[in-house]
Symmetry: C2
Subunit: 438 residues, 2 copies
């Protein structure tokens, strides 16, 4: 099999970074080398691994000729055929990735932050050099989602992609739902199990899911969407009471990344947001538990699809990287490459214009006229109520509303006016309801 | 964009068959032509459609220059670049598909029966000609599963694939479970809604799922597995009582296609079977309702994945065909092609050697010594009981057992001996329990 760049059937892989994913990749590649060779005729060898410190202990053994502190020996070296970037973060990952691509080396990366912020620049560099840029592991870890979106659904008119793409928050919400824990308690459990960082902001405030939402929107719609385009709300305000109400009404609360395409006056518009949402219990996303991820895709012909699996972890993520690596190596030896194509400009629909059904939770005075006062406010803003339920009586009365489809701006204006009503003591959680469009 | 075979950016598609899927494909291609051209630079044109009768009414309008009864004008014509086969069945689909491939035309097919019986011959013809043979739509309709298995999971060590791949039987089982219907009643409802044929044998006896199981096993394990290798049992024996018991024990009953790879004395062995199974309610497959399909994949690194969506229907299936068609057209213009690779020979593990946990349902005489008599038989065959429950008393007593992992042959021998016991009036359903290996 004389198909590799050097003509010896061996594809030399250079890896940037040797943390959790990098070390798992090196180990996995060792285990799977023969099976991959039997299937593709190519032998993938880890020729070089660039790290920050040579002294640090690692779970994989790497020879002194492989381990280096010199990143140029990976991205610029003529004897490296394909580069894997698993450093994470923006710099130096961006600079090194661009150097590899510009030097004509295919690049496989798991770096969501880099792609969500500098995707266009990287795609352009890959296309200019005529090499692969593959990043399946950047969204929903081990789940094959980007390749199906790009290739299997190449002919499909995709209208919406909704994902549970952050395992930490899904674990917290699962615990709150199944064990009745409060948010703080569930977060502490996630931290003690290593599922949440000591500073959990990136996960619980939706930044991590936001990067993934931007990448999903870019690939699903072929449009330029960056992390800064994503509206995000976190889960810290969700209470055990919200979860209990939701359950009684037939919903689970999940942190969703939602990317939608809708026709606008000047062409398609794209809305991208991350927020906790009420999902009907019969919806496939409602049953995604613990740290699992899932991405739900709606297309005009294909109907509903869902892709489910592990969203994080060294070995699952390394498996996704390895799938890309086999593809990049095969393409390289065939003299071809995949392409994301030129990403079109599309208007990003501001969150104010997003249309959804809403769950509202109001602590009210229990006296005649309260409901009428609320109904007046709601009606004034063109919002209509689908269902209402009173919980408790007297001082502790609480009204739970679910609205019909309404514009975010109208709902926010409604809430502002409701907060001014004397009879309303407190406006609790406001959650969008998805998956049962009404 | 001057990349198509004729150098004009147009890829001429020839279609064999214009039934449900063929007509939907022609319509979909018309709708999506511009979007595909914007993304790939290629214009896909339906140049010819071969049908049996020119007179028949069709939901799509085709010009007299497009519609033909001459299949050679599709498979042998120099002005056809890519062939789509949506006739179904073995002949003439096989002969025409081989002719197209041997003539150097990439082939996209949705024909599960053809692939499950003559896959190796077709793969060999495609490889010899150096052209694509793509068939995503043949398994689980619109769900992208074969491409992820072949490409995204190229580096993965897959141990098991379990799928709900027949929508008819899943609809029947869903109705039995959610409405308490009997089998005959649920089947009649499926027939009246058009989800089941008047002669439902292919679906309810597991033949359809068996073909899909063979294809899944071939692609997941890179091994030669044909329809005849698949052990299959249908759902006609499942009673409303079985479903109710299963539910109370925490299980759903689903018709599963299971493909497993296990190490044997002379290399890997592959077991492929279709049968009703008890799936724990918390398992993602248990929540797949109505006519939906899903395929659950277990791999050593990747952990658990699931792919969910529509398994049938003209437009969903056409969407999967179109994804393959875009891929085949792109590859053709780049002078490359995908390959399944040589399928290895592997020993097919006979059903007798399959290991599983079992649910047994026995109508017994309610008197002292019965349980001891049963325990003696079970123990003699090396089967061990994980849980037992008695339902009813006196004449109507029923014992429900769930075993630990046991060999099929041992369970069958146990059942034969149990049937000989005077104290056992009737041996009811015997179901394999999957998804909570114990």
């Amino acid at each position: 099999m004389d198909r590799s760049p050097a003509g010896d059937g061996i594809v030399r892989v250079g890896v940037l970074g040797c943390g959790n994913v990098g070390a798992a990749l090196v180990a996995l590649l060792g285990e799977r080398r023969d099976a991959i060779a039997a299937r593709t005729g190519l032998r993938l060898e880890v020729a070089r691994v660039a790290v920050r410190s040579l002294a640090r202990e690692r779970p994989v053994v790497l020879g002194p000729d492989v381990l280096t502190r010199d990143t140029a020996a990976v991205v610029d070296a003529p004897d490296i055929d394909v580069v894997v970037e698993v450093i994470g973060g923006i710099e130096p990952a961006r600079e090194l990735s661009l150097a590899a691509l510009k030097g004509g080396k295919p690049l496989v990366t798991a770096n969501k932050e880099l792609l969500a912020n500098h995707g266009s620049e990287l795609f352009a560099a890959a296309d200019a050099a005529g090499v692969d840029l593959l990043f399946e592991a950047a969204v929903a870890g081990a789940i094959p989602i980007l390749r199906p979106l790009r290739e299997s659904l190449a002919g499909e008119d995709i209208s919406r992609v909704m994902g549970i793409v952050n395992g930490t928050t899904n674990f917290i919400l699962t615990r709150m739902s199944e064990q009745g824990s409060g948010y703080a308690e569930a977060l502490a459990e996630a931290q003690s199990l290593g599922f949440a960082e000591r500073d959990p902001a990136a996960d619980v405030e939706g930044f991590d899911a936001g990067s993934k939402a931007a990448i999903l929107a870019s690939i699903a719609f072929g449009a330029r969407v960056v992390a800064g385009d994503v509206h995000h709300e976190g889960i810290a305000g969700i209470t055990a009471a919200d979860i209990a109400f939701a359950d009684r009404l037939g919903y689970a609360i999940k942190l969703l990344a939602v990317a939608e395409r809708t026709p606008g006056p000047d062409g398609d518009e794209i809305g991208v947001r991350v927020h906790p949402a009420m999902v009907p219990l019969a919806h496939p996303l409602a049953n995604v538990r613990d740290t699992f991820n899932a991405v739900f895709v709606e297309g005009r012909s294909v109907g509903e699809l869902m892709f489910y699996g592990r969203g994080a972890g060294g070995r699952p993520t390394a498996s996704a990287v390895l799938g890309d690596l086999v593809d990049a190596a095969t393409n390289l030896c065939r003299g071809t490459h995949a392409t994301v194509g030129a990403l079109a400009k599309a208007r990003i629909r501001p969150i104010d214009e997003v249309v959804s059904s809403y769950y509202l939770n109001l602590d009210v005075e229990d006296r005649p006229g309260v409901l009428r006062a609320i109904a007046e406010v709601v009606e004034r803003h063109g919002v209509s109520i689908r269902s209402m339920e009173q919980q408790g009586l007297g001082e502790e009365a609480r009204l739970i509303f679910i609205t019909h489809q309404a514009r975010e701006a109208d709902v926010q204006a409604t809430l502002a006016d409701l907060r001014d009503l004397d009879v309303i003591h407190h406006v609790g959680s406001v959650l969008r309801v998805v998956g049962d469009d009404a």
